[in-house]
Symmetry: C3
Amino acid sequence: MSNGPEEEKRGGSIRIGILTVSDRASRGEYADEGGPAVHDYLREVLCVSWEPEIQIVSDEVDCVAAAIEDMSGHGCCLIITTGGTGPAPRDITPEATERVCSKMLPGFGELMRQVSLQYVPTAILSRQTAGVCGGALVVNLPGRPKSICECLDAVFPAIPYCIDLIHTGSITPPYLETDPIRMKSFRPKGK
Amino acid sequence: MSNGPEEEKRGGSIRIGILTVSDRASRGEYADEGGPAVHDYLREVLCVSWEPEIQIVSDEVDCVAAAIEDMSGHGCCLIITTGGTGPAPRDITPEATERVCSKMLPGFGELMRQVSLQYVPTAILSRQTAGVCGGALVVNLPGRPKSICECLDAVFPAIPYCIDLIHTGSITPPYLETDPIRMKSFRPKGK
Amino acid sequence: MSNGPEEEKRGGSIRIGILTVSDRASRGEYADEGGPAVHDYLREVLCVSWEPEIQIVSDEVDCVAAAIEDMSGHGCCLIITTGGTGPAPRDITPEATERVCSKMLPGFGELMRQVSLQYVPTAILSRQTAGVCGGALVVNLPGRPKSICECLDAVFPAIPYCIDLIHTGSITPPYLETDPIRMKSFRPKGK
């Protein structure tokens, strides 16, 4: 998490939202496992200085939508949600995400389901998606730590460049970099 | 189709809607092949007692939407449609499904198209999807019996657990079980 | 591009729209590469006589939507867009496509992303889709010539039959045929 020369050159500070969506965790009846798993993952793969913004909310569309908009408003360039992506009545994270995003990125959900299908046939029940809310890429993840890592391993290589694109035209865009030993992220040459 | 001990223990009776969407079949100009293919398939893989609700409707959004809502209202926990999923002007089953579903499950369509692509490059023309309407999982299938079996083989392992999740909090949820020799369905451990 | 006997028999003349979506190309600041790449590709794979309708528009939803509707109104049976499919603020081609299409065909985007993933992990950032606008199949492609060819190689085998289906019931449907040495398109037997 050191300030690399790349980051100083680019200027923008990096803020990342980690949003746990769970009725029980939000009431304190249950220790949140998803949020810490996302936090650990980001600490492991990112090699630029960054600051987390952490929230736990109940499975209500209004709460999830408001939390995403808050985080985006506070300058988060990436917001990772965990939980609430299944077909149960209280699972509404994808609907809340779609409500506050100006653009949807269906390729994230497609790839995450495809990867999870290698482990369990019920991977098709996950409705997780991704989109753009203001200056933030929002990515929905499932709630289980093991699935979180599988999904992030699949999509993270595309995330730094996605954030560059979302900030096209910005003077001090956030510039994410991953530790190439742990995770090779990809930017097309000449970009 | 015997009443297994599992089913008695769980309590809920199981009703499954089979909805053929076809102008010609609904006018009797043409023998419906899709509906019977779905019925045969379910008889083969399910090892719990269940009751079918069968309807044939024309390719009209209102008719298809009303039939799905009727079946859901009559307590069907699973509604399988056949036909009307292509790009022709009269193909409107996915639109009708989306109209009456509170949640969409894009993973079903993705996997069914991927599996069908192994047989024909025109698999990408199928717009079939799945969603949740009340207490029912709605799954769109193509009209051809051969494609019906290919698609159900791909997604059925996830269907019993999906119905469990849709009925989270219900006192007598329907509990589907498949004959493990014919089809291994999957429920995560501890659930 | 000769008038084959098949085409004479079927009657309908074939018009194909090629729509470049790019602020810079529309202002002449930049030579359009996407449009010519699509044009070359079609010239190479089609073995029926056809006429192109070419337009370059800026990355504005209204402009892209109007151009698609114009081309459809002029009798184009296929409209291929290039550019504007990413997550950047000015990338709005998928939204414009969705606005003017009565039916969406998610299988095109799924397959194109899957194929592009073999080359770059950032393929999931492409939001390209396909749909039906009047009598036209609309397919979004990325802007880079190399990606255009990869995507068209993947989906083109299904395009002639898709256009047949869109024109179900039409007296003189356009009948696309590909050079089987370059590209085998597929029509189910008996259709």
